[in-house]
């Protein structure tokens, strides 16, 4: 999977200079040990430390609001010890851990409603912080993680339905008070990309053009004209799927989707066979996290969903995301290893 990522980034950045693709290559090499390390760490230890991991992540996340300098109008990056990283990537994993821990520990002990509200609270804190950064994509992912976890943990579904109902009714309020102008613009242009073809709608139009023009087989590696001519914005990060669609066509795109589906299948299979509740919840949480990334990202590039800054896991350029995703794979691997037969 990461191999595809490197090839695609190579193509995406070929015309910008050689350093980005080999950086990503090195990142992938560096994160493979992460998978191995997490594989050999008992996920139960992680679960035990979940509250602390969660708190630290939350602290980092809160720090972005204060310390980070805005990039393209949003504060998402922290610069610590020579590394830039995005705490919003880490918080997803931390939320998965803390929810798994809490539900395992307190299910049956607390009332369902109280457990639900506590979980909701734990989700809402980072949700609101990321929404303020603003990073709407991550906020949505956090909410999805929460909902899937609750759903799988067999807490009563009516709570979730109630929450969804609340969410829908609050859309007009959120529209008025919560969303920044550029976010509104993105949603509006998603509904009608030709509203502003050179501004906000540009990404969607260009991306669809690139993917569509790829046809069945694509233009071939390094030959995608839209990519080469830099018509696709963020072609090595958020819109890398456009490039894959353009250069490798329908076959290539389908291959990527099938690979992800394979990953999800294996991941859910592992989760469902976990002998602990925490293992199952963590596995499902990690898969749903990856899954939301994939669908939001691809959905955005083909015009199904509005533009959000959600990268394609393992494929898009970017180290924080890669690191967290690799950790997730490591944890899944650990879950599968530690199944007591």
């Amino acid at each position: 999977m990461s191999g595809i990522g490197i090839i695609a980034i190579y193509s995406a950045t070929y015309w910008k200079g050689p350093d980005l693709w080999d950086k990503q290559f090195i990142s992938v090499l560096l994160t493979i040990p992460v998978v191995i390390i997490f594989r050999y760490i008992d996920y139960k230890i992680l679960v035990r430390f979940a509250p602390y991991i969660y708190l630290v992540s939350l602290l980092f996340l809160g720090a972005t609001l204060v310390l980070a300098s805005p990039v393209k109008g949003a504060r998402r990056w922290l610069y610590i010890g020579g590394f830039n990283f995005q705490p919003s990537e880490l918080i997803k994993l931390a939320l998965i851990l803390v929810l798994a821990d809490l539900i395992e520990a307190k299910k049956g002990e607390w009332s369902e409603l109280f457990l639900f509200i506590t979980c909701l609270g734990l989700t809402l804190i980072p949700f609101l912080i990321t929404a303020m950064q603003p990073d709407l994509g991550t906020a949505v992912i956090l909410m999805v993680i929460f909902m899937v976890t609750i759903f799988v943990s067999q807490i009563r579904i009516r709570y979730i339905i109630f929450l969804i109902g609340l969410g829908i009714t609050s859309i007009p309020l959120a529209w008025k008070y919560l969303l920044m102008d550029y976010q509104k613009e993105r949603i509006l242009t998603f509904l009608d990309p030709n509203r502003d073809p050179l501004g906000a709608g540009y990404h969607i139009i260009q991306s669809k053009l690139a993917i569509g023009s790829g046809g069945l087989l694509g233009y071939g590696f390094l030959n995608g004209p839209q990519n080469r001519l830099k018509f696709i914005p963020e072609q090595h990060t958020d819109f890398i799927f456009s490039l894959i669609g353009e250069e490798f066509g329908f076959i290539g795109s389908l291959l990527v989707i099938i690979l992800f589906l394979f990953l999800f299948t294996v991941g859910l299979y592992i989760s469902s066979r976990s002998d602990t509740k925490a293992g199952l919840l963590m596995g499902v949480g990690i898969i749903s996290m990856l899954c939301v990334h994939v669908f939001i990202n691809i959905g955005m590039t083909i015009g199904l969903l509005p533009v959000t800054g959600i990268p394609l896991p393992f494929i898009s350029y970017g180290r924080s995301g890669l690191m967290v995703n690799m950790m997730g794979i490591g944890i899944l691997s650990s879950i599968s290893k530690r199944r007591v037969r």
Binding site: L229, F264, C291, G299, I302
Partner: protein
């Protein structure tokens, strides 16, 4: 719990299917459409301007063409301007202040400013040598319009310049765009559409910033058509020199009486059309805008009272209306009382017959004839001959002039007005080209041709559009009357007031005119304009002429010799220089 995981899995499967279906739709079903769009997205058509058509004289000599040049540009706001601009000033010989002025005018753009459109190889060499000290100075290869014969025929050819917003309205439909260079005057203007050609395009692959990456293909421009003119460059040059020797403003038009071809057209003072292409110095501008108006094509745009040359029209009216015949006799005591005013003749001719009245330009005879014919009829015949109306020459900027008649004048028309009109004074105003058409019409026995300067348009694909001679009016029914006038006009040169127009071995006919003027700003003493119209040879005319020299005094002494010089060169190939003698007006 496992059931719920399974439900999640089903959900994920559904989403994957949705993605796949959408991808299938975009890539397979709509793929060709998007591919087409994408190609359009990254391909820009950059205009490639078409080379302007050349202008040739009747023998194929190139009067206007395009030439590769080096242009010196300066990018505003770059480097240490003052010092480098002073160095540049020293190299190109344009004062520092002038360069700075041009830059300041364009200071709100980052577009390079053209400082010297046509730099010599030496200048280019020096700039390259001192490149380090001249930041922001660019040398660019360019194409400029070149008029190899400079001032010769400048008013015929005209000049070019950047299109103005008013001109855009005229030429937009023809494909002219803002910033284009178009003809501003002369043929360059009149035949702008034929000369401009069709812009080509370069299909260029561009990136998202619009920067060209590579050229995919070119649609070559179609160069403008070549114009073959009726101008005889050598004759044009002789005529120009001849007029310039008089040292006074004036105009000459030489026409082939058989078809209306303009053989030469001179207006003095003139200008060098190259200077518009190369960049005009402040001094040259001042001269061009001076009261002498070098840009004015006097041959078609200036009006003068025709003086006695108008007697040709009056004579035709009198003959055609049977007021007089060839044998009519007049008595000239040197003046004549008309109304309550005494009208003079330039001398007392005594007893004088019709032909001598023309030859010796007797005013009293023509007062008598004119009053008998009446102003309306004089006007009618003058207009038949093409006076007081546009000749339709294919050079823009022609003026109509004026042939007055009683109904035109707001105050009462006095008999004195008719008398003045009979000798081409008063309100009568004509252009030199109208008088040339008149001379040509008399010469060919009554055919009024539309004068033309372009005879053929040669398109780039080799096809030719020839512009046939246009007969505006046929006055052949006055053949007999015209024959009598021709006799008189021959006598003008043989024995009369125009003997200075005599050319050895050629029989020349003509008519002198001395147009009196009221003092004006440009002519404070009210000096006379010297007219002469002529044609030769008398039996089979090949050239008809009209000449006017502003404030030149007597037509017989100032303008008639010019006619002789032109006719001699055109018909015998001999260039002569002739002095003038006054034999009466």
């Amino acid at each position: 719990m496992k059931t719920r995981v399974f439900i999640v899995y089903i959900f994920i499967l559904c989403l994957s299917i949705i993605l796949t279906v959408k991808l299938y739709q975009i890539q397979i079903i709509d793929g060709p459409h998007y591919r087409e769009l994408a190609e359009g997205n990254r391909i820009r058509i950059l205009p490639v301007s078409a080379p302007r058509g050349e202008i040739l004289d009747r023998k194929g000599k190139v009067l206007a063409k395009n030439r590769a040049s080096f242009a010196v540009y300066v990018i505003p706001f770059e480097g240490n301007r003052e010092e480098s601009l002073k160095i540049l000033s020293g190299i190109i010989g344009i004062p520092y202040a002038e360069i700075k002025g041009k830059l300041d005018k364009a200071s709100n753009s980052l577009q390079p400013v053209n400082i010297l459109p046509d730099a010599s190889i030496e200048i280019v060499g020096k700039i390259k040598e001192l490149e380090d000290k001249l930041p922001g100075v660019l040398v660019v290869t360019d194409v400029i319009r070149d008029y190899p014969y400079k001032n010769i025929a400048s008013h015929i050819l005209g000049y070019i310049g950047e299109v103005s917003s008013e001109e855009m309205k005229i030429f937009q439909e023809d494909g002219v765009r803002m910033g284009d260079t178009i003809g501003k005057a002369g043929i360059e203007r009149g035949y702008q559409v034929a000369l401009m050609g069709v812009r080509g395009g370069e299909q260029v692959e561009v990136d998202a910033m619009g920067r060209p990456i590579k050229v995919l293909g070119t649609v070559p421009p179609i160069p403008g058509s070549t114009l073959v003119t009726t101008i005889d460059l050598d004759l044009q040059r002789i005529a120009t020199e001849s007029l310039k020797r008089r040292g006074l403003p004036g105009a000459i038009v030489a026409i082939d009486p058989q078809n209306g071809d303009i053989l030469a057209m001179v207006s003095s003072p003139d200008y060098d059309p190259n200077s518009f292409a190369k960049g005009i110095s402040a001094k040259e501008w001042e001269r061009l805008l001076s009261p002498e108006r070098p840009l004015l094509n006097r041959a078609i745009s200036a009006v003068y009272p025709p003086g006695s040359t108008f007697k040709v029209a009056v004579a035709l009216a009198a003959l055609a209306e049977d007021i007089v015949n060839e044998d009519s006799v007049f008595y000239c005591p040197g003046s004549m009382v008309i109304g309550n005013r005494r009208f003079k003749c330039w001398t007392s001719h005594g007893r004088i017959d019709f032909l001598d009245a023309i030859a010796d330009s007797c005013d009293v005879s023509f007062y008598t004839m004119g009053i008998k014919v009446g102003a309306e009829k004089i006007a009618r015949y003058a207009r038949l001959l093409g006076l007081g109306d546009l000749t339709g020459v294919d050079i823009p900027g022609e003026t109509r002039g004026l042939i007055p008649e009683p109904s035109w004048k707001k105050e009462p028309w006095y008999i004195g007005d008719t008398a003045n009109m009979s000798i081409g004074q008063g309100y009568v105003q004509v252009t030199p080209i109208q008088m040339a058409v008149l001379a040509s019409t008399v010469a060919n026995g009554g055919k009024v041709y539309k004068p033309r300067v372009v005879s053929e348009i040669v398109n780039q694909d080799g096809t030719k559009t020839s512009q046939p001679a246009v007969l505006v009016r046929d006055l052949s029914k006055f053949k007999k009357e015209i024959a009598i006038i021709k006799k008189g006009m021959k006598m003008v040169v043989d024995t009369g007031t125009g003997t200075s127009a005599r050319v050895n071995g050629i029989s020349v006919a003509g008519k002198t005119g001395t147009a009196e003027n009221f003092p004006t700003k440009s002519n404070p003493q009210g000096k006379d304009h010297a007219w002469f119209i002529a044609y030769a040879p008398t039996d089979n005319p090949k050239i008809a002429l009209s000449i006017v020299v502003e404030q030149g005094g007597h037509g017989g002494s100032t303008s008639a010799p010019i006619a002789a010089e032109i006719i001699s060169y055109y018909l015998t190939g001999k260039s002569i220089i002739k002095g003038g003698e006054w034999k009466g007006d």
